[in-house]
């Protein structure tokens, strides 16, 4: 199916992939439970001073004082449910972080994009969202000369733009082409997502939302208006839905041969 208007997009699995029911038994039920659980799902006392609402709970969550160093935030993307032509996640990210199209496609930032892959032998086609993979051993951080590219203790890979000199080594090093350089002067950035000319940026896994106990904007929109293909959670917590799902399903990371151990997992790819 094609989807030109994001608002009316109803995402269905690509024809060449197994039908929804066969493809992901239990996923729908699991997702419902995951969403329904809402604020009641887990209020985990992380440290004596920090209480982080893991999921749901609305916007009234108390601001946190520090991240959870034991967590490993990650994503699980069910490619079978990622609809052809659907780009809800992309537009949600643009809206949340303010990097929308400025009419310069060659230099516009791209935090998340839809990629179409095809098996040349079978002809099977699939679409999947690709963003910063939040590697456990990020090559961008390895090559950064100033320490601006770094991995937070909870696994989120970020650019500290106060330190970034815009050399773009990290863009060269990233095997996923996940990073963008800002070429033009910007005004009216989002207060929680600072962006500026001369620095490199990429998906932050909506770190400002994660820090207040919410889920990334792409996951939220995929679950509400998209195909429900994305899941966010703590991979280090064996009780979390994402960890259980990664344990029970065969999932893969993009280019696992590189050994960078991305935090983004894909199933039915």
């Amino acid at each position: 199916m094609s989807c030109t208007d994001n608002k009316t997009c109803t995402c269905t699995p690509a024809g060449s992939l197994p039908a929804d029911g066969e493809a992901s038994p239990g996923i729908e039920a699991g997702r419902r439970a995951f969403i329904k659980a809402g604020g009641a799902f887990a209020t985990i006392a992380l440290t004596p001073t920090v209480t982080l609402m893991a999921f749901g709970g609305g916007k009234a969550n108390a601001a946190q004082e520090s991240l959870d160093p034991k967590a490993r935030w990650g994503l699980l993307i069910d490619v079978a449910k990622c609809g052809t032509g659907c780009s809800e996640c992309v537009s949600a990210c643009q809206k949340e972080n303010g990097w929308q199209d400025t009419g310069h496609p060659e230099t516009d930032a791209q935090w998340i994009r839809k990629v179409t892959v095809k098996n040349p032998k079978s002809g099977a086609v699939a679409e999947l969202p690709v963003m910063c993979q939040h590697c456990d051993e990020p090559p961008c951080a390895d090559v950064c000369p100033t320490g601006a590219s770094f991995k937070r203790a909870d696994g989120i890979v970020l650019v500290d733009k106060h330190l970034c000199i815009g050399c773009r080594y990290c863009m060269m090093a990233c095997p996923y082409k996940a990073r963008s350089f800002i070429h033009e002067t910007l005004i009216d950035q989002k207060p929680y997502a600072p962006r500026g000319k001369g620095t490199v940026e990429s998906c932050t896994m909506c770190v400002h939302r994660v820090d207040r106990g919410e889920i990334p904007a792409c996951v939220e929109s995929c679950n509400s208006t998209g195909g429900g293909a994305m899941m966010f959670g703590n991979l280090n917590d064996p009780q979390s839905d994402i960890a259980k799902r990664v344990a029970e399903l065969t999932s893969t990371q993009l280019r696992p041969d590189l050994g960078v151990d991305p935090g983004v997992h894909y199933t039915y790819l």
Binding site: K59, A63, Q64, E65, S66, L67, F150, R152, A153, D154, L158, D160, K161, H162, T185, L186, I187, D188, Q189, K190, P191, Y192, P194, R195, G196, K197, G198, T199, V207, H208, D211, R212
Partner: protein
Amino acid sequence: MKQWIRQVLATALLAVALGAMAGISWPGMASAGEESTQVAAVPAPAIPEAKPGTECVRDPEFMRRNHMDMLKHKRDLTVHEGNRLPEFSLNECIACHAVKGDDGKNVTIADSRHFCRSCHDYAAVEVDCFQCHASRPEAGDTALQSSPHGMNVLALSEFLKGVQE
């Protein structure tokens, strides 16, 4: 002979110069005293009031001297350690010190009435924060409409200790 003439000429010139200087400075000094020199200097900035009902984390005297170090410390805590407490955050400064423009919207740093600019222009210190950061609160964002901070003394002293390190 020539040396004698030179000495006379130099003395005369000095006398004329002193006389001229005295002529200019005497009337001013006599009439307005110290204030006249203030008028000639750059006028002190009109610093906009903060949002009514809000209270800063410290007194203005302290903030004028130390806000840059506090912001720098808080920025590292936020970016690297995920500290999202509103106290000391740039967004909170911006929310309390927003200045309304002629169109009723909060002005950006491009406007000389902006809180940060009013002082930084006077001090001739360029402020780079807003090359990346939003210089005004987002319209309709109620999360940033700050109430009095009610900082407890312990939290403040802990933070300031971090600033000094």
